[in-house]
């Protein structure tokens, strides 16, 4: 694999992660571009963990300026084990788009890192700077929310 191809794959992964935060293609591309240029200026390192960190920090900065709080910390007290039972798939791409759009950035982020990138909760906790219990709790709540949305979607379709 060429250097260019490796870099392109890394940036695509960064873009998908950025998309999990923004749920907006254009904004995600801007985030990746800013992050990549920033890493370039400091001479690396070029790895997914660092790219994710830079993208995340830039995203949070943008939100702070707009005085929104997307990454509110959830209390650990209502921590529950995430159910293993898998969720049903939405009927089509549009339904997935709508369901993901109904989630908060922090919810989409943990869902993406866990379900798409297959990171463990400990790894996600390290990457996002949240306690592991908070990540588990957030994942649990996200799954509950998804289950509700999916059942509404199914009712609507049938």
């Amino acid at each position: 694999m060429t250097d260019d191809q490796t870099m392109a794959d890394l940036l695509q992964r960064g873009f998908r992660y950025a998309l999990s935060l923004t749920h907006d293609d254009e904004q995600a591309q801007d985030l990746v571009q800013d992050a990549a240029l920033s890493i370039s200026r400091r001479g690396g390192p070029w790895n997914i963990q660092f790219l994710v960190t830079v993208i995340r920090n830039r995203f949070i900065d943008q939100y702070r300026r707009k005085k929104l709080v997307p990454f509110e910390y959830l209390e650990d007290v209502d921590y529950q084990t995430v159910e293993d039972e898998s969720l049903p798939a939405p009927t089509d791409h549009d339904a997935m788009e709508t369901i993901l759009g109904s989630l908060k950035p922090a919810e989409r982020e943990v869902l993406y890192l866990s379900a798409v990138e297959d990171y463990t909760t400990a790894e996600i906790a390290e990457m996002t700077g949240k306690p592991r219990g908070t990540v588990l709790s957030l994942l649990h709540r996200t799954k509950i929310k998804l289950r509700q949305s999916l059942s509404h979607e199914l009712q609507y379709r049938t």
Binding site: M7, L11, F15, S20, A36, I39, G44, D61, Q62, L87
Partner: protein, 195 residues
């Protein structure tokens, strides 16, 4: 099929704009710095510090005197980079009020500048961008002679006091930086070549 499989498929279909990705890969790989180059860079910084000592013993240059040239250069580099990149515009208009209305993510009101003569510089669109981590307005303009020009606006901050009035020449462009009406402005245009 379960949700996770479908979610993986959903994200796998999402791809960056190929042209934009290619440009970014080119920029990133061109600037990747191997270890030996980083060591050379440290050595170069050492030499630079020695040279700086020598320079400080001479009368200061009028163009750099009093300016934080590190900050000014960083801003200028960013402005020139995005001036050269054919990024899509968020709004195509020649009207500042329309820009203000159509770009609600801006947390400041774009202003007209007394230093940018509207009879010479004509706005044709704008996009969101950033300066030093702050959401900025990147206006694309056309000069009367057909030259493309970029004007950035970003909310003013006390730290910009050190770059107010600075002029940087970079990659064939002159970048002027100044504060006006609560906004930091950066104007990038090609250096005029005498014929």
């Amino acid at each position: 099929m379960n949700f996770n499989t479908e979610l993986k498929r959903y994200y796998a279909q999402k791809r960056m704009d190929p042209e934009r990705l290619e440009r970014l890969v080119r920029t990133a790989t061109a600037r990747r710095t191997p270890m030996w180059m980083q060591v050379s860079r440290i050595a170069a910084i050492g030499l630079l510090l020695i040279a700086l000592g020598w320079v400080l013993n001479r009368p200061a240059s009028p163009t750099t005197d009093g300016f934080d040239m590190t900050l000014a250069s960083s801003i200028a580099k960013h402005v020139v980079f995005y001036h050269e990149e054919p990024m899509p515009l968020n709004v195509k208009t020649d009207n500042l009020a329309t820009i203000s209305m159509e770009m609600p993510r801006l947390n400041f009101v774009p202003v007209t500048s007394e230093q940018v003569d509207s009879s010479i510089y004509h706005i044709f669109g704008a996009r969101y961008c950033h300066i030093q981590g702050d959401l900025a307005l990147h206006m694309r303009m056309m000069r009367e002679d057909g030259q493309s020009v970029t004007l950035y606006q970003v909310p003013d901050k006390p730290q910009y006091d050190s770059v107010d009035g600075a002029t940087i020449e970079m990659n064939g462009y002159t970048v002027k930086i100044w504060r006006e009406n609560g906004v930091l402005m950066c104007l990038a245009e090609k250096i005029a070549i005498a014929v």
